[in-house]
């Protein structure tokens, strides 16, 4: 196995940081992602990534932590979605489109200023596509705490959230404060996007949110199994991605590591493909 787990992989401090942050982000994203599937909100995650990119690039500009920027951006995006939640669908789509292009435009400005005035090299790559190996070890406890808080919040709202996702009326008739529940869920969605933006970059953060959850619900009808399977897919994809990125240093002629996010996204896509195959085989088995 030495060829695969290259020497120094597990003793390298940046890799250890990456493995921990990656696992936390993957777990939170998978859990929130499964609930987003139930809620039909998987796509809202995409809207948050654009705003998270603006937050991340802005944070670099003022010298703040990228995680704070990602989270702040995603939370602002979640607030905007909650406000746009009222009113006709078409106006909502238009409003979302305009807000997102404004956010991306701001990202372009911030990233330009980052690169020119601060001479922060590789900042565009880092904010949009992530650079897990450059995460500082001081981020680890913050990520763990945020992850734990998000999972706790999700557990607290789980049942009211599921019922109000199935039928708003049914939930309101039971006295569930549907607005509060969906607001809290958007916060957990923003936390998940923020954490996975740190892992694989803001633009790709929905890969960890949507991919493992979508794969899991293909192969199980049970919510509890879906949560476990999605978390498993997320963690394995992230750790495998980290390992492959580390190994790629030895493959490349000029000895540079390929981006972690590339490998993670490939793993997630492969997992989704495998789960779809399993689901298709089962469906065929049932028909025969």
């Amino acid at each position: 196995m030495g060829w695969f787990f290259a020497s120094g992989l597990f003793t390298s401090p940046p890799v250890q940081v990456a493995l921990v942050i990656g696992a936390v982000a993957a777990t939170v994203s998978a859990v929130v992602g499964v609930l987003a599937m139930v809620r039909g909100l998987a796509f809202a995650g995409h809207a948050l990534t654009d705003v998270a990119a603006t937050g991340g690039s802005g944070a670099v500009l003022v010298g703040a932590s990228p995680l704070g920027g990602f989270l702040g951006g995603a939370l602002v995006g979640a607030g905007a979605i909650a406000l746009a939640g009222h009113g006709p669908q078409q106006r909502r789509d238009v409003a979302t489109g305009i807000v997102l292009s404004a956010a991306t435009g701001l990202s372009a400005l911030f990233l330009y200023l980052d690169a020119t005035t601060n001479a922060t090299t590789g900042v565009t790559q880092r904010v949009l596509f992530g650079s897990l190996f450059s995460a500082s070890s001081s981020t680890v406890p913050v990520a763990i705490e945020l992850g734990a808080a998000t999972l706790l919040l999700t557990a607290v709202i789980a049942r009211p959230l599921v019922l109000s996702s199935l039928s708003r009326e049914l939930a309101r008739a039971r006295g569930i404060p549907v607005g509060v529940v969906s607001g809290v869920f958007l916060v957990t969605l923003a936390m998940a996007v923020g954490l996975s933006a740190l892992t694989i970059g803001s633009l790709l953060s929905t890969a960890l949110l949507v991919g493992p959850a979508a794969a899991a619900v293909r192969v199980t009808t049970r919510m509890s199994y879906a949560l476990v399977i999605a978390s498993g897919i997320g963690i394995v994809s992230t750790w495998l991605g980290i390992t492959l990125a580390y190994d790629s240093y030895n493959w490349m002629p000029h000895h540079q590591s390929l981006p972690v996010s590339f490998f993670v996204v490939v793993d997630v896509v492969v997992a989704y493909g495998l789960c779809s195959l399993v689901a298709a085989r089962r469906a065929r088995g049932r028909r025969v």
């Binding site: 599937m37 139930v38 607290v156 049942r159 009326e169 008739a173 293909r218």
Partner: protein, 269 residues
Amino acid sequence: MPDALSVEHLTVTLHGRTILDDVSFSIQPGEFTGLIGSNGVGKTTLLRAILGLQPYETGTISVNGEPRDLQHAAIGYVPQKIALDSDVPLRVIDFVTLGLDAERWGLRRRSAAQRDRVAALLEAVGGAHLATKRLSELSGGEQQRVFIAHALVREPSLLLLDEPLASLDPRNVQEIVALLHRLAHEHHVAILLSAHEMNALLPVMDRVVYLTGGHCASGPTNEVVQTDVLSALYGHHVDVLQVHGRVFVIAEPNDATDNLPEHPTLTVH
């Protein structure tokens, strides 16, 4: 014994239009009541008001003699058919279990007694074989059964159903009506079911709330579905005909300036 449901002088205005105008009626425990009226007369608005989803100008709504807003647990609700994304990872049995206490925060282990109750209700609605199916894979009739089990699992004293028969084929209509009739007796739950066509309900309906033009007439079915009562309610002459145990409400064109044919317009309610 207090009324299972009592609605007094209820007036609801939506966007400046009076939908319900001084509506009063009451339902006794264990009674099967049909809320009858054509589309758009305010049946759903009335149900929503009883559920606490629709604010109203004046009137009072009480459940078991208590103000309605303290009575979430006493009311079960079956909404119209809902469309679910096919990949929602939720089984029928999970959904019925959710009926126990979906409004509570946090996660909780289910007791053996709770699991037994869920299984017994699924059995009672004829849905035991659906338990491990995905909720999104159910047909219209199956979904109605499962939603009824979800609503009844915490033993409400009043069950509201919004047009549960509208999207069903005749066989399923008969089966669901018979099922509800049986459940009303077995679980001693008062049922208020909205429908635009009352014939399927005639064999089981103890009471009718007939809604038109914002007003209602209510009482035992054979006292309300009468030519004079419905004519007074509509404000013009209608005939009520009974043919082979079916009821037809026939309205005559009341506007002489209309070039309507001499034949009465037949509307089947």
